[in-house]
């Protein structure tokens, strides 16, 4: 690598001198530091880096130099989605592409000959003469995926995901406002619907809550690992004596559903089958600590996940 760097420095020296660019010596010092890092740096990053290495240049001079590097083909300027331009080395005859982590902003370079060949092939099939190209893949890097412990906004949580509320980006005012509707830090929340636009619907303490997307973006959460309940979903009437379950939903006519809900048959409520009547109908259940009977055909309208949590 150093050999290449040395080569580049020499090339720059001849090129800049031939062009009559001033302060070539200083600019070479900057190039040496630029080549010394494998990061994709912004101009501010580079200024910082030079200061650390003990060089004391004017920021304007550094920016100007970076522009020159780009113009003469020593650096490549790339602007990733919504960011400041970043600079990287441009080694002649060599091309690489980028994987960009949207969470930690890490950029991973990769080279793939097949991909390059494929790109040329695609271009030529269209009768297109390719001069230059860039390939940027956005996503989460492996580190970020492994340690998703880090905060994400509630707005980016998936449907069916369980998250735990950690903090409110909107300050204490918003925190108080949310507390009155029952959203507190530390609450576990299930994301019921999140279509990517418009309000989200959450389940908090067995009750549903619709939340504007703007507010949701300011609520920082961590996934609590309690993913979608994977226990098989069955009808309440399919349970055997003594079995426990969690209510998923109550179907049927409005009046029936409402009556059951008023009696405490809410989503997420634990329910146990105490026994069946001697003639196998109705059945006796325990909900919220009291005993209640339900006909088997009515219990068939209640969907549960069998087994205790």
């Amino acid at each position: 690598m150093n050999k290449i760097h040395q080569q580049e420095i020499e090339q720059l020296q001849t090129l800049f001198k031939g062009e009559g660019i001033d302060n070539t010596e200083d600019r070479i010092k900057i190039l040496a530091v630029f080549l010394g890092t494998e990061e994709h740096v912004t101009d501010t990053d580079l200024i910082k880096l030079l200061k650390e290495k003990g060089h004391d240049f004017e920021p304007g001079f550094i920016k100007d130099t970076l522009q020159l590097f780009t113009r003469y083909g020593f650096a490549q300027e790339t602007t990733f989605k919504g960011e400041q331009p970043r600079y990287e080395h441009r080694h002649l005859g060599r091309h690489h592409d980028h994987l960009i982590c949207t969470r930690c902003q890490k950029i991973i370079e990769f080279e793939n000959d097949q991909l390059e060949a494929l790109q040329l092939q695609i271009a030529s099939r269209q009768g297109f003469h390719m001069l230059q190209h860039k390939m940027e893949i956005y996503g989460l890097c492996s580190d970020c995926i492994n340690t998703r412990e880090t905060l994400v906004s509630l707005a980016s949580a998936r449907e069916g995901e369980w998250v735990k509320i950690k903090e409110f980006a909107g300050g204490s005012d918003m925190q108080n406002r949310l507390a009155t509707i029952g959203l507190r830090s530390g609450d576990e929340v299930e994301v019921m619907t999140n279509s990517g636009h418009g309000p989200l619907v959450l389940v908090v303490n067995c009750s549903r809550l619709a939340l504007g997307r703007g507010i949701a973006q300011k609520i920082m959460v961590i996934p609590n690992g309690r993913q979608r309940d994977e226990r098989p979903q069955v009808r309440l009437s399919q349970l055997k004596k003594g079995q426990k379950a969690t209510i998923v939903r109550v179907t049927g006519s409005g009046a029936f559903r409402r009556r059951l809900m008023e009696m405490g048959f809410l989503n997420g409520t634990e329910i146990a089958v105490e026994k069946y009547a001697p003639l196998r109908d109705p059945m006796e259940l325990i909900v919220k600590g009291y005993h209640v009977s339900l006909r088997v055909c009515e219990a068939a309208q209640v969907f549960v996940r069998a087994g205790s949590k």
Binding site: S207, R208, E262, K288
Partner: protein, 709 residues
């Protein structure tokens, strides 16, 4: 101090001990009636305390105050329209979460509320600790701890009632009401502003509450808004339905369901703050009892045993007091005949009024014993288990498990049986049970079967009688299913029934329970039965100026009659027949005889059937008169041979039995039906359908019998 009066309403879940607290407050100073227009029992009582005269109204026990059942509407309307000064929400402390659901709904109404936290002893046995001050703080209501069945806390409750009613504070601010999610709150306040703008004071209820109810699609509130706000009403409803639609799209579910959900969410918050659950420090006795009483194998036999016991006690033990009352009535009748000079007036008093009303008063011991048993079943919590055990069977007819007991009681007497339908919550279930109840062959019909089956089917009498009972049951099932599909279509009330923990009943409650219902029987039955008996008496005693065909020694006879002669029995008997034949009822019998011809019943049978309307026992005695059986030692044997000689066949005997089994119930039962359904329409329907059905089935039996027998 000025004497002040005010009204207090008691509301609460079924099994929350509401009735016990009501009894503790009012003692025996209570009045049982019906809520106007509906068949829901209304209880009202009075307390006098510190110069206050407090009227206490026991609202029907409900789990919620939406508009789904008649009980809920009754309870809600009372609070909204009658505006009681204080509403006491009775809460079962051992089941705080579900009970708070209703209590917070009441809190949402514009009224002064007190929470009475009942059964705190049971709760603490279950390891539940409740911080009442926290509840007061969170919901801004006074909370009183009580143990109803030990009469603890009654005085505290009364004091709180008085202080709340007297306080000038007015209705506590609604700042601590249930808060729904932001989207729903937005919809509520939008609608609220619209209502305030559109209908100034035209809707009598709090606009926020009205908005909530409209978003919940509450049909009663919708109706009232339409009636109250006129043309603006339509606009308001339209606005509400738009709001509903928006919420529906947002939550992908009906707003009322979402709101129920959120109300429970709110309650969960209160519970988290105010309730601490420790380890349970008792064995769940109730569950152990249930292991036996609703056991897969033993459950039903035990139930049958209990029912058998109840039957025995009611109809066997009840016989003795019945005899005493019967003797008493007889004595009154004789005394009256001594006091009143013979003539039409004496006949009216003795044969009409005294024997008519007496015949019904005789049932009083039956009814008292039966209701004592039922009160015992209800107060201990066994009634819910009985329904649990029998629901499968009753569901065949489209009825609730609780209908089983009234149906079974029907075999004894339909009057108490129909009164026992009061234990059914759903009006539809009640009416249906009442309509088919008379098909359960009551004990008064047994003598008819015994006589006819004994006469015509000597060897197979037992089987014939049994098949009569069986026919009644089969018809009840068929008719029940038919009526369910014709009149009570739509949803069968869901069988969501709480199985409350077993509790030891208190003697006071049992007695009050029994006496309340017996009182209703005595008071209300009196009127209709009195009139009915007089009418039938009139029809069978008039006209008086009959030209007897046998003019045997008339002058002598007249004088002998006056002396109470027994010398000319033949003449007396012949005249008896003629008097019956020529009385209005006899003429009526002859007039309708053509209708009875196709079912093999002659005019004498028709008259017997007509007199059976007063009481089915009379069928036999009328037959005795008409078939001119000789008085004597062996009256029944004589009647048997008379019947055999009268041209009655086996087919017509069978047809007669079937007709007696099915045709319209006796006057006592009819008046009970009238009272319990609170509707002449259903009463008349019951009469019409039973007569029609009786004729049709008897026709099939007679025509079929003629071919087969």
């Amino acid at each position: 101090m000025l004497k002040k009066t005010f009204t207090v309403a008691l509301a609460g879940n079924p099994n929350s001990g509401k009735t016990t607290i009501f009894n503790n407050l009012t003692g025996s100073r209570q009045k049982v009636g019906n809520w106007p227009g509906v068949t829901v029992e209304k209880k009202q009582g009075h307390v006098k305390q510190n110069g206050y005269d407090i009227t206490i109204v026991d609202l029907p026990g409900t789990y919620s105050i939406t508009a789904y059942s008649i009980e809920e509407i009754v309870a809600r309307d009372f609070i909204l329209d009658e505006k009681p000064d204080v509403v006491v929400a009775i809460i079962d402390a051992s089941n705080l979460e579900r009970n708070l659901y209703l209590a917070t709904q009441i809190r949402e109404l514009d009224t002064k509320v007190i929470f009475a936290l009942n059964m705190v002893d049971v709760a603490s046995d279950k390891g539940i600790k409740i911080d009442t001050e926290k509840i007061t703080e969170l919901l801004d209501v006074p909370v009183v701890k009580m143990i109803g069945n030990q009469n603890e806390g009654t005085d505290r409750l009364l004091k709180t009632i008085i202080s709340v009613a007297e306080s000038k504070k007015g209705i506590p601010p609604q700042s601590r009401r249930v808060r729904y999610g932001p989207e729903i709150e937005k919809a509520i306040s939008k609608l609220e502003t619209f209502i305030k703008k559109k209908s100034k004071d035209k809707i009598p209820y709090n606009p926020r509450w009205t908005s909530i109810k409209l978003l919940e699609d509450d049909r009663v509130v919708k109706e009232r808004v339409l009636n109250g706000a006129g043309s603006h009403g339509t606009a308001i409803l339209e606005k509400a339905s738009k709001g509903r639609q928006r919420l529906f799209n947002l939550f992908n579910d009906e707003p009322e369901i979402v709101m129920t959900d959120q109300r429970y969410g709110f309650i969960a918050g209160v519970i988290r703050e105010a309730q601490k659950t420790g380890p349970e420090n008792r064995v769940d006795i109730s569950r152990n009892i249930d292991k036996i009483l609703t056991n897969r194998i033993a459950g039903i036999p035990i139930f049958i045993f209990f029912i058998w016991g109840m039957f025995q006690v009611t109809f066997t033990l009840g016989v003795y007091p019945m005899e005493w009352i019967g003797a008493g009535v007889g004595w009154v009748g004789r005394t009256a005949s001594h006091l009143i000079s013979p003539g039409i007036f004496q006949d009216l008093v003795v044969d009409g009024i005294i024997s008519g009303v007496g015949g019904v008063v005789v049932f009083l011991p039956n009814i008292m014993i039966l209701f004592l048993c039922i009160a015992l079943f209800e107060d201990t919590g066994y009634m819910a288990r009985a329904a649990f055990l029998m629901d499968r069977v009753m569901h065949l007819i489209g009825l609730h498990g609780k209908s089983f007991i009234p149906m079974l009681m029907g075999f004894g007497c339909n009057v108490p049986a129909i009164m026992a339908t009061r234990t059914l919550e759903s009006k539809k279930d009640r009416i249906l049970t009442i309509l088919i109840n008379p098909l359960m062959s009551c004990s008064a019909r047994l003598p008819v079967y015994l006589l006819l089956a004994g006469t015509f089917f000597a060897a197979n009498a037992g089987n014939v009688i049994f098949s009569m009972y069986l026919l009644g049951i089969i018809l009840a099932i068929l008719i029940g299913r038919l009526f369910r599909t014709i009149f009570f279509r739509g949803e069968v009330a869901p069988f969501v029934m709480e199985l409350p923990p077993y509790r030891a009943p208190t003697f006071k409650n049992l007695v009050i329970h029994m006496w309340d219902r017996s009182k209703v029987f005595l008071k209300k039955m009196g009127g209709i039965i009195l009139i009915g008996s007089v009418v039938v008496w009139f029809l069978s005693s008039f006209p008086q100026d009959i030209q007897y065909s046998i003019q045997n020694r008339p002058a002598e006879y007249e004088t002998e009659m006056k002396r109470g002669s027994e010398t000319i029995p033949e003449v007396k008997e012949a005249w008896g027949v003629e008097r019956m034949e020529n009385s209005y009822i006899g003429r009526l019998g002859k007039f309708i005889a053509p209708v009875f011809a196709p079912i093999g019943i002659d005019w004498r049978g028709s008259v017997a059937i007509l007199t059976g309307l007063v009481a089915k026992e009379l069928v036999i005695s009328t037959m005795g008169v008409l078939y001119a059986a000789e008085d004597g030692e062996n009256e029944s044997e004589a009647l048997k041979s008379a019947l055999k000689n009268s041209g009655m066949t086996r087919a017509s005997a069978l047809s007669f039995m079937v007709f007696v089994l099915i045709y319209m119930p006796c006057i006592a039962t009819i008046s009970t039906i009238r009272r319990e359904t609170d509707s002449w329409k259903w009463t008349l329907f019951s009469i019409t359908y039973s007569i029609t059905l009786a004729w049709v089935v008897a026709f099939i039996v007679y025509q079929g019998g003629k071919i087969l027998l």
